[in-house]
Symmetry: C2
Subunit: 96 residues, 2 copies
Amino acid sequence: MTKAELIEEVSTKTELKRRDVSDIVDSVLECVKGALQKGDKVQLIPFGSFEVRKRKAREGRNPKTGEKLMISARTVPAFHPGKDLRDAVQKPVKKK
Amino acid sequence: MTKAELIEEVSTKTELKRRDVSDIVDSVLECVKGALQKGDKVQLIPFGSFEVRKRKAREGRNPKTGEKLMISARTVPAFHPGKDLRDAVQKPVKKK
DNA sequence: GACGGATGACCAAGGCTGAGCTGATAGAGG
DNA sequence: CCTCTATCAGCTCAGCCTTGGTCATCCGTC
């Protein structure tokens, strides 16, 4: 599902202009990005939370050449799913 | 940052009603959840992608008692950050 | 606006899985 | 049309993930 399809679906659901939906979705992503830049956590309860994770430096490896290389410590964006999402994606094999 | 603050900020940016923003954000999350339930991937380029990840069954451990326990295989929601996000959360040490 | 219900964070310790390294290409999205 | 992402290889270690109770907080209702 692409952003266009998502916007299509949302505009249908909410009966709002696709332009507005697109605008809002874009702004939401901008805001989340901004918050993460500031190191803030974004909580979309009960959907999940966006947060930044510190990654320590480690020894990686070039999968093509097999050469060892140093991966510097970095900050990566992470998403922690909420209960709603975790439950939703579970296969209906086991119904709780 | 909570959902309310996010909506506040987005409504300010887009100059749209807070009610509409809230409605749309909610619908977006619903759509993403639905797509993930179907096993689809949701691409919010260049922000990132939501996808489901298969987790193999493994032997866990009760951190309280130390007892071993079997963790059944499961499907978990995951978020893969896009280039924009990955770059954004990096410390401004290196400005591109 | 205030309260209640619900959800998330937190913590313990330890083991193993999965992410992620490069980079070129192909395909698709904006 | 340009940019972005997925994909793939093999290998390694670090981060995560488990339970469960409690506390804070967030959302929604009244």
